[in-house]
Each structure stands twice: as C-alpha cells, then as structure tokens.
C-alpha cells in the first residue's frame, strides 16, 4: 500500500501521512433500532469502486478530510475538508 491522497490543505501526500477513519456513514438516532445500530457499528459496505472515506492528515495539517477513493485501484480523485461541500 503506497498510494497518494491529495489533501485540500497540503497537496498530494503519501497515504502513510494519514490515519484512516473508515467509510463515511450516517450515524443512526440514539433511539434507532438495535438492528440499525448493529449495521452502523459492525458492517462495512466495502464497495469495490468509488467510496467516500474519512482520513486524518496526522503528519500534515492535522485535519479530518474526506476523500473519494477507488478501492480497487486505490486512486483518490477528490478530497475536501470534512464537512464541507465536495463540489
């Protein structure tokens, strides 16, 4: 594993500068069913293809970013500051 992730603050950087934060998911309401919480907590979609993920740029700007990664090729085409509009 040695791909690059573009950081919106720092530019193109080695994946080793980042901490992986998992797939972007919608957290259920506290009152949601056990099944929904189970799904959220333990199951990953792990899509073969484009997937939006959390990455923390620990060796750079120390910010959470979100990135769209192709899980087959590890190509990251787009990234943005977490919570901001990807466009």
């Amino acid at each position: 594993m040695s791909f690059l992730i573009p950081c919106p603050n720092c530019g193109n950087r080695s994946v080793y500068e980042y901490r992986f934060g998992g797939e972007l998911k919608q957290r259920p309401e506290a009152t949601a069913s056990a099944a929904l919480w189970h799904e959220y907590s333990f199951n990953k979609v792990n899509r073969a293809g484009e997937q939006t993920e959390w990455w923390f740029h620990r060796a750079g700007c120390k910010q959470w970013i979100q990135a769209s990664r192709n899980t087959v090729t590890n190509e990251v085409r787009k990234s943005w500051i977490a919570g901001e509009d990807p466009a």
Partner: protein, 873 residues
C-alpha cells in the same frame, strides 16, 4: 590497498570488486552449493547468480562480484567447513539418491523425526552466518525523492531515454546498479559505439540525478520505487530511497542464463558475459584454454575477446554436442560428441532473458514469443514503459538441449537438477508454481534469474505443453533482496522527557518506557536495596506521610467555547453540562459499540472553559476524536493540546495538605477545597491548576503548572515536604497504590471489547442524557445485553498470580487476571480479574493458575484499601 579474505591478504586494483580482486589473486572456488556443497565459482559476474556469496564486514551473503573492494575490508567464505577447497559436507553429493526432489516431504512424515533432524539440516544447508563486526553494527538510512521521470537501467536504452526526458525539461532520476553507466557496452566492445559522450551529456544536465550503484528492488503502488544505494557516504552502509515518479521507464536490459549439460556447475564454467566483464572491466586474463559452448555464430564475439586477452580458444561446441564437463573441483576438460578437449574454462553463450521482473511487479503480463525466444512483457500499466532489451527486441536464439540428468543443474541455488524436476512432475506437481514449491527450484538467492527459463522449458517439454501454457513463476519484490538493516533504517527513536527529567535522574530514577515517554519506575536510593525495597519505601511514604509523583505524561487538553460542555456531554458517558465551576469529574469515553476508549478527568475552570486529562498513550487519539465529532457540527468549541506546556505532579498522602500549605495561600481546608474540587491559584509563585483527586487513595492534589517551572516547583515541594518525610515515588508504587483502591487502568484492566458495565463502572454511564457516543449500545448493556464478563477484585492468601494468569473452572480458562500485586495493606495477593458475570459476587471463590498450580482467590467488589474513601476527604 588490500583486504583480508579469511586469513589471506588480497591486493586491490582500481575499479576492483571483491570478486575481481580474488579472481586475479588466483581464487577460483568462491562458495559451496546449498544442498550438496559442490564447489562453485564466478558464473555471471553481474550479481544475478548465487555463486559468489561471501561475508563482508559481518554482513552475510553479499555478492562479491558487485561489491567494490575497499581497503581493510574483512571478507570471509561461508557455507563450507573447514575451507572452500575442502568442505567436509561435500560428501553429501555422493548420497544424493537419499535426497531426491521433495525428500523433506517423503522422509520426515513424523514431527518427532523432523524436530530431531531439522537443526542439523539447517546447519548444513543454511546460507551465511552472522559475525560480530569489529566496526560495530553499520548505520543505515532512508531518503525520499521525487521525479517526473525515473529511468531504471543505465545501458544505452536507459541513457537515451533519460536524455530525451531531460531535453523535454523533465526532472529525471536515472538508477543504475553498476559502478559506471553504459550497460553492456562497457564490456561488449563489438556491440556499439562508445556511450561516453552521451553519458557526459547526461551528467552535465542540472535536471538529471544519477543514482549509481543503486538497485531498484521493487515497483509499488502509486509509482513508488524502492531503491537501495550502497555506501551513500562514509557514515552509512546503505541508503533506502523511496522514489516517487510520475513516469517510470524500465530499461533493465537482458541477462545471460546458463545452458543445461552434465556438470554445468563446475568451477570454470562461466557465462560469456561474465568472462567479458573480467576481461574488459578488470583487465583479467581469465584462464589459459577455453572451450566455448554456443549456438551458431554466437560464440564468435566472446571468442574474439578471449583471443585478444591471450586465452587459447580450443573449440566452439554447439549445445547439443557437449556431453559433460570433466573435473570435480575445477574444469579439467569437456567430453563432447566431437571428442574430448582439455581446458580450464568453459564459456557458455546462454539465452539472454529480458530482465522484466519489475515490469511484471508493475502489472505487466509475461508472454512467450518464439521470436526472440523469450517471455516478453505486454500490457504495461499507465505511466510505466519499457525500452531496450527488456522488451525482447533482440533475438535470444540459443536453441536449448535438455538432458535428463542428475548432474545437469537447472537451479544452482538449491541444487535442483533436470532429474529432480522430472521426479517432481512424476510426483504430480505439473504446474510450474507447484513444481517450484515442491522442488524449491527458482526459490534461492538468485530469485529465479538463472533458472526460471530453463525450469519452464524443462517443465514444458516434460508435460508436452507450450511455453505460454506452462507460464512463469511470479516475481515479487524485493528483487534483488534487501538487507533488514536497510529496511529498518536509522536507529533513531524519539524520546520524550518531562520537564523534571533531570531531577528524577539525580534522585536515582530507574526508567520505564511508556511509548516515547520516559517515566521513573522507582527511585534507586544509594545504599538501599533493589526495586522491591525502593517500591516498599515509596509506598509507605504515600500511605503514612507524603509522596510526590511526576504525572506530566498525562494528556492535557483545554476545551473552550460556548458549546464546550455540549461536546463533553457527547463524547463522554457522564454529564458535564451540570458540572459546577471549580469541580472535577471522572470521565470515561466510549465508542458507539460501548467499548471504553479512554478515561481521565474533566475540570470546569469557567463556564466555557474545561481542563481535560487523557491517559498517556491516548492523547492524540482523544484530540482527533473530539475533532471528528465536531466536523460539521457548527458548534462553538476549540480544543487545544497543552500537554507540552504544562508540568504535572501528584502530591498525595496524609501530610500532603501540610506540605502544600507551605507553598500556596489558597485555603486548603477540606470545606474550602473539598475532594473533587479544582482551583486556579499561585503555587510557589507560579500559576497552577490544582485538582483534589485521589488515584492513589490518599488526600492529594494533582497540580499542573507551566513547564518552564517544572524542576523548580518539583524541588520546592520536596524541600517543603522534607520535614514530613516526603519521598518521590515512581510508576511501580503508583500502580500498587491504585490497585489497592481498585482503580482501573484503561488498556491494562480493560481491553478492546470492554464496556463500562463489564468494568464495573455502571455509575459513569448517564443513560438519561439525550444522546452521547455509545448510548444505544450501553443502554442494551445496562439491561444485561452484551455483558460477557465482569471485572472483579480478588484476594489471594499465600500467592500472587502473574498479570494475565488464567481464571479456571473445571480445567477450562474462563477469565484472566489483568493486574495483580502483593498488598502490604492486606498482607495478601490482590488483583483485578475478568470472570464470568455469575462469579462476580462478593465472597465467591475462583480458581486462578499461579505458576502452574491452581489456587483459590476470593472475589470482592470493594476497594482493598479504605473502602469508604474516608482518607480521600
């Protein structure tokens, strides 16, 4: 200039490698083979075979033919005893019938036999040995580089590609594993124009970086190249370069491989390119009389070189004409269908194989092509291209001949012969990948370079399949191999020291490593006993008088803003919005599955300002966790890491109040400054945050103050406490003191699945909060769902289990001890253990294995010391 080979002095000439100097001095046997200990000499002279491995300055299995000879080097032979010329284990080759292909699997079918024999086999077959290096362990380093175009291989094709890219204005890095650029033109003088002019042009360009004596051992994802550079400077043995390139041009050329005939491994049988290197690069006359084995006119080139060097060319034989080489140590002659010839060299013009390993690592397929007669790379990935002989542009020819013989070595690394391959196929291993594993052919130090083509061709013939159907074995990085030292890199370990580090050292601290931090484990007082005595004295000071410990490694965060309490309510299981200013509360953090992530304290310094502590190892994680939950929240909160800016101590013991009173004007009366309160006040003249908390179970204050006053305040407290008998205490005493209070250490007494109910801390979970991280899972755990085990205290008379000792029911482990110590207070072993929930009852007996013996311990849900907490208040 000379170096020492075993005990003989070997003179060095300019440009010499270790092997060329040895060869010139008359050495012909360089190593002994892996299995049969047959003598072996220089075969390829280019670092691609297993024959010239020696120990250089303590590093085993170094290829002497590509290692520059340096003055004062210490070189030793390996894999032979007592010497290369007389190796006792070479007797093994006469018993080869005992060791056919796959003999491991056939003979050692019982584990007992294998375990008895394995050490002997390992000793006989192993490659190299580690010696103590008189100069010490060499230094290694890592470097990072970037290029627009990286060219691998400094032969004519690589030079031209690098020049072209440089002229386009690109940043170019050219990697070549030889001492000089030029590739085969350096020693194949009849092949083309002298590349000198183009090399000079390249060296003159400012946008070209030349990495010479550097081998590219792997292409990784994202066009990352692993490059190993030998002797980057006097202070380092090797430099591992992480080179990231936008475009990669592979110009690794082709290398010559052996032909198959009986005794094709005898010393003096040499590839034509090897002998050309000896002649043209090192001005060596390689022998007196040579027989050349070549297809068609392919022997003419090397024949001319040999004659020019003064070697008599006795005969040129076709591969089908040679029957066997005569000679057991060194070549004495050749037996052929055209008669016998006496000679001391047999020069083999073998097929030239495209060196396409890197390309296949990058994702290219290797496809057989009858013209040129090689596996050629096809389907190159984007941004990777190939030029020159690696593409198969030059015909390979050299029609092969495949004798079925137990002396025709296909794989010289592991002594696998054509007969062994045949046997493997007969045993059912017809696929090249399984045949490889069964016979171990292609799995030796040359990583298949010398043998892959021959092995595939033998397999293809014997199974009547085409070359493409037979296929190739897989090339994986690193190729060539990389030393572990180079992978490990510089011996550089960052160390974090608290502001009072040197004061601890003067007090006799014995250190404990906690991540990057150094903490005093205990203080060795001059003239006192060892660890046990020191810890006992420190323990007594805290319980009876006063003790002082440096807790500066705790993570410290300031959380500030209108919504600060809202954030803390969300990420911790307790409630903080109702925490009054000047109060402290214990805090446990869980994830959404209810698992405990960290614990610490939260102090409310002002309405919108909190002081948060984390465990030593989790600071970064907690900070990132806060930031994560703040993403897109729109909340007014800022989180600042103030760990490095503050020194922190814990002053505890029945006399702690008397000590502190001497250093601050603050009213320390229990009514004015009660348990679980916090204040900001001057202490010994510096601004400090004081918290009345009691991890060790006595009246005490955790004091945080500016790091630049670290030693000053630490010393002032010790001076003020002297009249009360204060002692500094270390982590070991602290762990014992807290264990007597049954206080949990997250990560020691909890694991990656523990929730607060399992840790017997139900009181920290406030399920009536609107929402917090872990609420849904903890609500289920509160009603008993998902509580697999429970953390309990235990008392054991007459023994102390080790941390991690199993709790056993009916011979089956059902739980484990997480922490255990001898308690001076209880005069018994005490500890914390996970047990099944039904055993978590006051007074329940459990059985714990203590050094092989089962002993009974009694469960308690109470602290072992001061159960009511009277001493804290």
């Amino acid at each position: 200039m000379n170096f020492l080979f075993d005990s003989e002095e070997v003179p060095i000439q300019a440009g010499d490698t270790v092997a060329s100097a040895l060869y010139r001095s008359g050495r012909r046997i360089f190593s002994r083979s892996f299995k049969y200990h047959r003598p072996r000499g220089l075969l390829c002279c280019s670092g691609k075979c297993p024959n010239c491995l020696v120990n250089v300055d303590g590093s085993p299995s170094v290829r002497s033919c590509v290692t520059p000879a340096l003055d004062g080097m210490r070189v030793r032979h390996q894999n032979a005893w007592p010497s290369l010329e007389n190796d006792a284990l070479s007797i093994g080759q006469h018993f080869d019938f005992l060791m056919p292909a796959g003999w491991y699997y056939k003979v050692f079918t019982k584990p007992a036999t294998w375990h008895r024999v394995e050490p002997h086999i390992r000793k006989a077959a192993g490659l190299g040995e580690l010696f103590e290096n008189p100069q010490g362990i060499p230094e290694y380093e890592h470097a990072w580089m970037h290029a627009e175009t990286a060219v691998i291989g400094g032969g004519p094709a690589g030079i031209q590609s690098a020049l072209d890219a440089a002229e386009r204005g690109e940043q170019v890095v050219l990697i070549d594993d030889q001492t000089e650029l030029g590739g085969h033109l350096r020693y194949r003088k009849q092949r083309g124009a002298d590349p000198r002019e183009r090399i000079d042009a390249l060296a003159a360009r400012a946008n070209v970086t030349l990495l010479q004596r550097a081998s590219c051992f792997g292409i990784y994802e994202g066009n990352l190249l692993g490059v190993l550079l030998g002797h980057p400077h006097a202070g380092a043995a090797e430099r591992l370069i992480h080179l990231r390139a936008q475009r990669i041009i592979v110009a690794t050329g082709a290398y010559e491989t052996p032909l198959l005939f009986d005794n094709n491994d005898v010393v003096g049988v040499m590839l034509s390119s090897a002998v050309q290197r000896l002649i043209h690069l090192h001005s060596i006359v390689p022998g007196r009389r040579a027989v050349i084995v070549a297809h068609g006119s392919e022997g003419d080139e090397v024949g001319a070189d040999l004659k020019q060097a003064g070697v008599e060319v006795v005969e040129i034989l076709a591969p089908s004409e040679i029957i066997a080489v005569r000679g057991s140590g060194e070549v004495k002659g050749v037996k052929s269908r055209r008669g016998d010839f006496a000679c001391d060299l047999v020069i083999v013009c073998g097929p030239r194989v495209p060196d396409a390993g890197l390309l296949s690592q990058a994702g290219a397929k290797l496809q057989w092509s009858d013209v040129p007669g090689a596996f050629v790379p096809v389907g190159l990935p984007l941004n990777v291209s190939a030029v020159g002989d690696v593409t198969g542009e030059t015909p390979v020819a050299a029609a092969q001949h495949f004798p079925d013989s137990k002396r025709a070595f296909v794989c010289i690394c592991v002594d696998a012969t054509s007969r062994d391959l045949k046997q493997g196929i007969a045993d059912g291993f017809e696929e090249i990948e399984t045949l490889k594993r069964y016979t171990t052919a292609t799995m030796g130090p040359c990583q298949g370079r010398m043998c892959q083509l021959n092995a595939i061709q033998v397999c293809s013939r014997l199974t009547s399949r085409s070359m493409d159907e037979t296929g190739t074995t897989t090339s994986r990085p690193p190729n060539p191999g990389v030393t572990l030292g180079a992978l490990a890199g510089a011996k550089h370990h960052p160390i974090r020291r608290t502001p009072m580090h040197h004061a601890h050292a003067e007090l006799g601290a014995v250190w404990l490593d906690m991540g990057e931090w150094k903490r005093p484990r205990y203080y060795q007082v001059a003239g006192a006993g060892g660890e046990a005595e020191s810890v006992a004295a420190e323990y007594r000071a805290v319980r009876e008088r006063a003790g002082l410990i440096d807790v500066g490694t705790l993570g410290k965060l300031i959380v500030r803003g209108k919504d600060a309490a809202r954030l803390l309510d969300k990420v911790y299981t307790s409630r903080f919005s109702d925490l009054r200013q000047g109060r402290v509360r214990y805090a446990v953090m869980c994830d959404d599955t209810g698992v405990i992530l960290d614990d610490g304290t939260v102090s409310r310094l002002a309405d919108d300002r909190f002081f948060v502590t984390t465990t030593t190892g989790n600071l970064d994680f907690v900070h990132q966790w806060f930031d994560w939950w703040l993403v897109a929240s729109g909340w007014d909160v800022s989180v600042t890491n103030v760990t490095g800016g503050l020194a922190s101590v814990n002053l505890a013991g029945p006399k702690a109040r008397d000590v502190l009173r001497k250093l601050t004007d603050l009213d320390l009366d229990p009514k004015a400054f009660p348990y679980m309160a916090c204040r900001e006040a001057q202490t010994f003249g510096v601004p400090a945050i004081l918290m009345r908390i009691g991890f060790v179970g006595e009246t005490g204050w955790e004091i945080h103050y500016p790091a630049e006053h670290g030693e000053e305040v630490w010393n002032a407290i010790l001076v003020a406490g002297a009249e009360f008998g204060i002692l500094p205490f270390g982590v070991e005493a602290q762990r014992l003191l807290r264990l007597e209070k049954r206080h949990v250490i997250v990560g020691v007494d909890t694991d990656a699945l523990t929730n607060p109910f399992e840790a017997d801390m139900a009181w920290v979970v406030k399920l009536d909060k609107e929402d917090f991280i872990g609420k849904a899972a903890l609500a289920r755990a509160a009603s008993g769902g998902g509580v697999r085990e429970k953390l309990v205290g235990f008392v054991m008379e007459g023994g102390v289990p080790e941390d991690g000792a199993p709790v056993v029911i009916g011979g089956i482990p059902v739980g484990r001890v997480t922490s255990s110590r001898y308690s001076p207070h209880r005069k018994a072993g005490i500890g914390l253990a996970f047990v099944p929930p039904e055993l978590a009852a006051e007074g329940a007996p459990v059985r714990v294995r203590v050094r092989g013996q089962l002993r009974t311990a009694i469960v308690t849900m109470q602290p072992f010391y001061d159960a009511e907490g009277a001493r804290l208040r």
